[in-house]
Structures are given as C-alpha cells and as structure tokens.
C-alpha cells in the first residue's frame, strides 16, 4: 500500500467515524424523548461520546490530508476533490471550536451530516493526484485557499445552528398565512438537502453498477462568411439519460430498466460545457430527492419539519441564535483575510493585478458583502432571531454557490476539470 492509498483509507475511516459520531449524537438527543426518565446527564454523557468520535474522525481526516500532502509533494488544495475534502476538514475544526465554547449537542447532530455530505460530494470528483501547473504553485495561493476554507467553515457551522434554530422556532401547528409560509420555507429547505442526498445516492449507485452511455453529437454551424463547419462531440453519461444531447445518437450504451432510450432531448438553446449532461444529472438529483422526500413523508405522515421540531423543544432558541451569530462573527475576519486579502495578494503576484472581476473573485466579494450586510443588520438594525437565522442560511447558500456553482455554471480562471 503506497502513501496515496493509505491516505484514501484514512479519509474513508474519517467518513465512517463521522457517521458513527452522528448516530451517537442522535442517541444523545433521542434519549430525551424515548426514555421515560429525562436525564440531562445522559444527554451530556452521550454528547461527549459523540464529540470524542468526531475528534477521532478529525484525526483520521488530518491524517488523510497530511499523507496526501506528502504523496503529492504539494498541499492538497488544488482541485475540486482536494478542496472539498479540506473544506469538510475545516468545518470539523470550526465545529470543535464552537462546540467547546457552547457544548451544544444539537450542533453535533446537524454539523456531522453536513461534513459527511461534503466528503461524499468531493468523492464525485476524480481523486487522483495531479501535478501542479505553474500558476498554482504559490504560497499565497495555499494561504488563500486554506484560510478562506476555514472562514467558510465557520459560516457553515453558523448555518447549521441557524437551521436548527429555524426548525426550533417555526411553529408547525400554525395554520395562518405567515405561519404556513414559514413552514413551507423550512420544508422546502429540507427538500433541497434531500435533493443533494439524492444526487449523491444516484451518482454512487450508478458508479458502483458501472453504468455508461455514450453519445455522438454533430453540430453544423455557419459563420459570418457563410462558411459551414461541422464539429463532432462525444459525451459520456454515467447516469441513465432522462434527457439526451440535442441531436445526439447513441454510440454505446448499457441498458437501464431494459431500455437505452431517453425520455427527452436537450433543447438546442442549451449552451455551455456539457450543459446537457449537467441537466441530466440535475434531473436525476431532483427526482431521487423527491422520491426520498416522499418516502420519508409516507413514513412520518406529516411535514418533516414537524417531525424534527418537537425533538428540539428542550433547547433555548436564543442560545442557537447566539451560536450562529458567534460562529459567523469568528468566520468573517478569517474569510476577509483568506477569501479576499490573501486572494488579492496572490492575484497581484500571479496575474499582475490584484483584482480582475473574474466570476470567482466577484462571488467571493458577493459572499463578503452578504455577510457584511448580515452583521450590519444584526448589530445596528437589531435583526435577531428568525430573521437573522434566515440570513445565515441564505449566506451559506451563497458560499456554496461561490465554491461550487461558479465552477459548474460560470467559466473563468477558477474552473476545475472533472465536474460531473
């Protein structure tokens, strides 16, 4: 077993231990409701077990990071796989800091699945070690990426606390207009999370099954001088085609449910790199997320928020409000330093200008502006409670768009290879 394989196993271990930690936290919480004797000592005891497991998981995760660094000869932060696994590691570090300040069991029950989901998402990308291209070989870049990830990790913990807070304060018995609206929003947010889970489940199930279908697409375009050019494009789907490339013909295909046909064809106006395959993946995610949601609703026979809500009744929403805000307040200077200042220094050294309005730069600025607005609204305009919690939730969505969405949707200097 070489160093690279060892580091891959360390990551797998970390993920399994994180999942175990998540279940321990669930026991710590569930115990409150299930056992007849409500015992804070019991919750606290299991909370510490969960925390210990999370710490062991983090140790394995750090082992992964260090051994991969040694194997590659450079810090593993240079592509989507490496960045996402590091982000998960940073989230666990931020979690441990915040947990030691507030000792809140709920935080564990919600942050650990987030870390697991992010590692799973990272695993969608190719994990092999790639040598650095010259522009990425910079200490400023390394500082930029790691510090920014740490800042974003605190935003992530702030997000989980805010999400729990919303689940806690939104009243699932209310039937008036405003009450219904709040319930619907929380419920849709849970659905979004399930869609992400659905995406992971579908990608990994078909990857394990080794499913593949290849299309050939011929494009004829006429330039301004009336000259015709024909381009041929081969595209491989790893998920069964719900929507096939516009005018694509099958070259080779595995069958799914006894057929190789697709339901739809991508519209011709769909542009962008592999936009048809991305659309197919998105459709799969939404459908599997909806199925998952439907199943859970069938089992629970009520809104999912209403299932979670009563389990949170012991917790003081003010404390969650404080945790969320505090976490963001810790993350904000780190993000400013890593996401903007180090990034500008790197840009100055590498590209000879500290700012170039590249989409990734702009979205880092947008993230910063968003949290700046959050802090002003909270500190000067008194937005606390649910309002501030919604902002913290939306803020993390902005972070995710900056990290992932920009690379998927908008091309620029930061686009990585191997995006599904």
């Amino acid at each position: 077993m070489n160093l690279y394989e060892f580091s891959q196993r360390a990551l797998m271990t970390a993920m399994l231990v994180y999942s175990a930690s998540f279940f321990i936290y669930m026991i710590a919480l569930g115990g409150k409701k299930w056992s007849s004797r409500k015992s804070p000592e019991r919750t606290q005891k299991w909370g510490w077990y969960g925390f210990a497991a999370a710490a062991v998981g983090l140790a394995a995760h750090v082992t992964f990071f260090v051994t991969r660094w040694m194997a590659a000869g450079h810090i593993p932060t240079s592509n989507m796989y490496e960045f996402m696994t590091m982000l998960a590691m940073a989230i666990m570090m931020a979690f441990i800091v915040i947990y030691l300040i507030y000792r809140n069991v709920l935080l564990g029950a919600f942050t650990l699945p987030l870390a697991v989901i992010i590692i799973a998402y990272a695993s969608v990308f190719p994990s092999e070690i790639q040598p650095l291209i010259p522009s990425l070989n910079s200490n400023w870049l390394r500082l930029h990426v790691t510090t920014a990830a740490l800042g974003e990790a605190f935003f992530a913990v702030g997000f989980t606390a805010a999400l729990v807070q919303l689940l806690r304060v939104v009243d699932f018995t209310r039937t008036d207009k405003a009450g219904m609206r709040a319930r619907r929003w929380v419920e849709s947010f849970l659905l979004v999370i399930l869609i992400v889970v659905g995406f992971l489940i579908s990608v990994f199930s078909f990857r394990i099954a080794g499913y593949e279908v290849e299309y050939r697409q011929v494009k004829v375009s006429v330039d301004q001088f009336g000259q015709q050019t024909t381009t041929e494009r081969l595209v491989t789907y790893n998920l069964p085609p719900i929507v096939k490339p516009h005018g694509g013909e099958i070259m080779a295909a595995d069958t799914f449910l006894g057929t190789t046909d697709s339901l739809f064809e991508a519209p011709s106006w769909l542009k962008g790199v592999n936009a048809d395959r991305k659309l197919n993946t998105i459709l799969w995610s939404i459908i599997s997320g909806l199925i998952l949601y439907g199943l859970l609703r069938l089992i629970a026979r009520k809104q999912l928020g209403a299932v979670i809500h009563p389990r949170l009744s012991d917790i003081n929403p003010d404390d969650l409000d404080e945790i969320s805000y505090r976490s963001i307040a810790i993350g904000y200077p780190l993000f400013t330093l890593g996401g903007l200042i180090f990034a500008m220094i790197w840009a100055q050294v590498a590209w000879s200008r500290f700012w170039g309005w590249d989409p990734k730069e702009v979205w880092a600025l947008i993230t910063w502006l968003f949290y700046t607005a959050y802090l002003h609204l909270r500190l000067s305009r008194g937005w606390i409670g649910a309002k501030s919690a919604w902002l913290a939730v939306v803020g993390f969505l902005v972070v995710l768009f900056t990290l992932i969405g920009v690379n998927l949707v908008i091309a620029g200097l930061h686009s990585y290879a191997g995006v599904s």
Partner: protein, 559 residues
C-alpha cells in the same frame, strides 16, 4: 414649535436627541419611559447624534441620508446585486480581440442569443465600469465616512465621561440583570466582588456603595477603524486612475536580448527563457500523454541607465541592479516596478546576420557587416562601399496601392532592410538595395527583381550558419508599476485589524447599586451576551451570591 425639554432629573442638561441621560443614564424619551420592563436601547450609549437634529437643512438631510445604516445596507445589497449580474456572461474586458460596441453586440448575440443581446444593450456586459456601479461604490465610501463620524464622536464622549452611579432604571433595564437581597456585609462583599472582577481583567471604579467595572473598551473602536481601512482602500483604488501612478505594458524579449522599458530609465535583458513540461512518469493515469507545463522561467537582468539615457547618439551606460528568475508567481520586483512572466513564443527567430558584400563581376568579398535585426546601426562600411540604412520592415507585407512597402506587424517574421549603397561605379546619390535576411523571403518577395539596378553588380550574402544568430525562444513580460498598491494593502490591513478587534473582543460593562436592601446589578456588552452572562455568573458565585446563567437573562425572547 415643539419644545423638547432635555434636562434630566439629576440636573444634567443633555443635547436634543439624547435617549439616555449622559450623566446618570436615565431614559429621557417618552416611548422608552412608558415600557419599564423592556431592555434599553444602548446604542452609542443613548447619545444624541448630528443626524438626529430637528429642523434639518439640506446639508443635514444629506448627512442624515448617508449616516443611516439602513441606507448603508441598501447600498451594500445593490452593489451585491450589480456585481452578481455582471457574472452571468463574460464581461467585455475579457475579450482582447474585440473593440467596437458593434463587434461586442454581435458577439453577445451570436454567442448567447437574444438574452445576450439584451445583456449587452442593458450595459451589463461592462457593469464594473458603469457609472451606476462606480457611483454605488462612491456612495458606500461616503456612507462609511459619514456613518463613522456621526457615531464615533458621541460614543467617544459617552465612554470618556462615564458615571459610576447610574439611575436605577438604567441598571434594571439592561439585557443582563440581577436583583436580589443585599449581602450581609455590603462593603466586604463589594471588595470581594471587585477582586473577582479584577481577576477577569476588569477595571473597577467605586463611588460609595455603587460600582462600575469595564473591560475591552478598545473593541468599540473596531468598526470605526475598519471603516477607515475601507476608506483608504477605496481611495487607493481611485488613485489607480492617476496615469502617472500606473504603468501596464508588455515587452517581448528574445534570448540574449536587452530592451529599454519604455518611459523609464530601466533596461531589461532576457538571458534565457526555458519551458519545462511534466514527464509521463510524473503524470497520473488520466493525464498521461497530455502536455502539462511545469515551469516557465525567464532568467532576467534589470539594468538602470546612469548616463546618456536620453541622448540617442550615445550608447547609454547601464548598471545591473537586479538579477532574477522570473516565473509564474515569482515576478521580478525593484523599487515599485514589477516584471511578470506573461507569455512565450518558441518559434525560432532571427536575431542578427553578418553578410558580406560580394562584387559579382570580380567575385571579391567585402565585410562582413554585422546587421542586428531589431536594432540595426545606420551606416556600414564594406570595403570601398558605404551602406546607409534607409528603412526597415519587421514583417514585410509587400507594397500598398501606391507602391509603398509596408509592414504587417512589429514581429520580425519577415524582416526586410532598404539600404542606399554608395561607392565605386555607383551614382553619386547611391543606389537603393533591398535586403531580406531570410532565404525564403528572398525568393517569396523576389529580391533580385526588386534590386534590378544592382543585381548584376553587388549582392549581400550570408556565408555559412556561423554568421547567423538565432533565438530559440521569446519571452513576453508584463511590466507593471502601481504606486497605489502600498495604500491598497495598508487599507486592507487596517480594515482587518479593525474587524478583528471589533469581533474577537467584546466591550463589557457592569454597574451595581444598593437601594433599600436590594442589590441591583446590570451588565451590558455590545456583542456576545452569552459570554457576559457566563462570566458574570462565575464572578458572582465566587463572591458568594449563587446565581444561574439563565437567571441573569433579561432579554426579550427572540422569535
């Protein structure tokens, strides 16, 4: 006109707009007085601000507009939206080969359809240079200045003259409050409590049986410091518009070539450019067989001209000031001047030739003369003949409609030189001779036909490759000077410092007094109530008063 009485019970005369008495902290405004249970609004310690002036004139109104945090948040949100819109499609500035508005319009239409056309028509394809986006940034800058001034002065006054004994309502309406029976020995307990406070690094003041404790006041200046940093940052960016502060140009240098950096007294030499690629063993499975660059390196020397710099007739005196390997992420920097690796060209290029002048009738050879392609001398002596350079073309492109020779570019792809040759058996004014150093150009452009007057008499000819000097690589460097950068970094640094002291430390104050056997204690912090409550509970328990963290909480329930 409504007359507002701002004199407090305690006798202190407060400025109009004061919320809490500057001296004792008693609430002064009616709506606050009427709800005695609710926690007080403690912003800026209830001081009057300039923006709250009654009967505002125009300046006051502008001041009020920009001093509002609500306006500031709107400006931030609008900037955010504007910035986001600019990322939908690539900005115009990313296309170097398109110039006119017409070209851009066609490009966006062709590439992104109707949406692209609308995008371009709305000006979203150049958002970041648009008047409204720059206007928003200027307004944010204004808001930063006015917001800070409006708040920092009253806050400074409030914090620099604090009273130890506060009004009872001021204490009991803080967000963290304790009320309970007084301990048996009031003064002994106060001493003990003071010790506990000091252990937590509080500064303590006492006035009879009233006490005030405070720590981390500096953290209150954090927001104003970070705003100053941002103002410096924004001004520095404006300063980058000053042409004399800014230089951005490109220089292409062959291996071994030295060139002056235009408009400076600096010269730069490219000793050798190298490019390295990853070998197949270094590449992972999926990348094998692909070309993946590992290193671009220009071994560069920077010279400073110390004499004869502006005199074209004399050779400038150059002194080496810096030697550096310019790579990606490792620019050469010297006194604010930076040279970056930008591009390279690995097509071999002719640097110089040393032809001889052959007398075709006798076969006699004169010379050789040394002809530098990029930087040729004006006159040459070859035996009895004198050659004067009349014109040169780097990328000869034939003749225009009026029969004049022309150059396609400044790149020496097809160099051509026009000489006037004087000497024996030649007219007094000399004869024109066009010379193509590249054999292929000689044939392509018909050198012998162009030189028909001399073709049987004289010829410039290169004898052997040892008389040709060729560069394998050319390196393009980006030369930059940006005098505003130190201010940009200073602004960013000050901003970060302000944010850190404002967010990582919290200003905490505790007041207490005794009334009719009741101890009333109120505590205030601008951020992190949780920490204050926990700390206070620990200190009170130490002093002998048992209290839980929850009991100290006097906040309205957050919903």
């Amino acid at each position: 006109m409504l007359f507002e009485n701002t004199k407090c019970e305690c006798g202190h005369q407060n400025p109009v707009g004061t919320v809490l008495c500057e001296y004792c902290g008693m609430p002064l405004i009616e709506e606050i007085k009427t709800d005695p249970a609710s926690p007080l609004e403690m912003r800026y310690d209830g001081m009057a601000r300039r923006s709250q002036k009654s009967n505002p004139n125009l300046v006051d109104r502008i001041w009020r507009f920009f001093s509002s945090v609500r306006v500031a948040v709107w400006l931030i949100v609008l900037t955010l939206i504007g910035a986001a819109l600019g990322t939908i499609y690539p900005q115009e500035s990313t296309f170097i080969n398109l110039k006119t508005s017409e070209e851009f319009r066609n490009y966006y239409k062709q590439e992104y359809g109707t949406m692209g056309e609308i995008y371009h028509a709305l000006g979203l394809s150049r958002v970041y240079e648009s008047w409204w986006f720059v206007g928003l940034l200027v307004m944010i800058g204004t808001s930063l200045v006015i917001c800070s001034l409006d708040r920092v002065l009253p806050l400074y006054r409030a914090l620099s003259k604090q009273q130890v004994r506060k009004h009872l309502q001021f204490i009991t309406r803080q967000q963290v409050v304790y009320q309970g029976p007084e301990p048996q020995d009031r003064m002994a307990w106060l001493d003990k409590f003071e010790q506990a406070l000091k252990k937590k690094r509080y500064r303590v003041w006492r006035d009879g049986d009233a006490l005030m404790a405070e720590k981390n006041r500096f953290s209150r200046w954090g927001p104003y410091i970070n705003h100053i940093g941002l103002i410096i940052f924004l001004l520095a960016i404006l300063g980058r518009g000053v042409p004399a502060w800014n230089m951005d140009q490109y220089i292409t240098l062959y291996d071994g070539e030295t060139q002056q950096i235009p408009n400076t007294h600096y010269y730069v030499k490219n000793e050798k450019f190298t490019v390295e690629y990853y070998s197949d063993e270094e590449l992972p499975q999926s990348l094998k067989g692909t070309v993946r660059p590992k290193l671009f390196n220009t071994r560069a020397i920077l010279y400073e001209c110390t004499a004869n710099c502006d005199d074209p007739s004399k050779e400038p005196v150059l002194v080496e000031v810096k030697k550096h390997d310019i790579r990606m992420n490792q620019p050469l920097t010297y006194k604010g001047l930076s040279l970056y690796q930008f591009d390279y060209n690995d097509k071999p290029k002719l640097l110089s030739v040393s032809p001889v002048l052959v007398d075709k009738t006798t076969g006699e050879k004169y010379g050789p003369i040394h002809l530098s392609i990029r930087d040729p001398a004006l006159t040459y002596e070859a035996g009895p003949y004198t050659l004067t350079l009349k014109d040169k073309f780097m990328d000869f492109g034939g003749f225009d409609s009026e029969g004049r020779p022309m150059s396609k570019s400044r790149e020496p792809n097809a160099p051509a030189f026009i000489f006037i040759i004087k000497g024996p058996d030649l007219p007094e004014n000399g004869e024109t001779y066009i010379y193509f150093p590249n054999q292929i150009d000689k044939v392509r452009f018909g050198q012998d036909i162009l030189n028909k007057a001399l073709v049987d008499k004289l010829e410039l000819r290169v004898e052997g490759m040892e008389n040709v000097s060729i560069a394998e690589n050319a390196s393009t460097l980006n030369v930059r000077m940006d005098r505003a950068m130190p201010f940009v970094w200073t602004g960013a640094g000050i901003f970060l410092f302000g944010v850190v002291i404002g967010l990582y430390w919290n200003h905490r104050r505790i007041w207490l007094r005794f009334d009719d056997g009741v101890l009333s204690l109120g505590a205030h912090t601008n951020k992190n109530h949780y920490g204050l409550k926990t700390e206070l509970a620990v200190m009170m328990n130490k002093s002998g008063i048992e209290v839980t963290v929850e009991r100290l909480d006097n906040r309205r329930k957050t919903v």
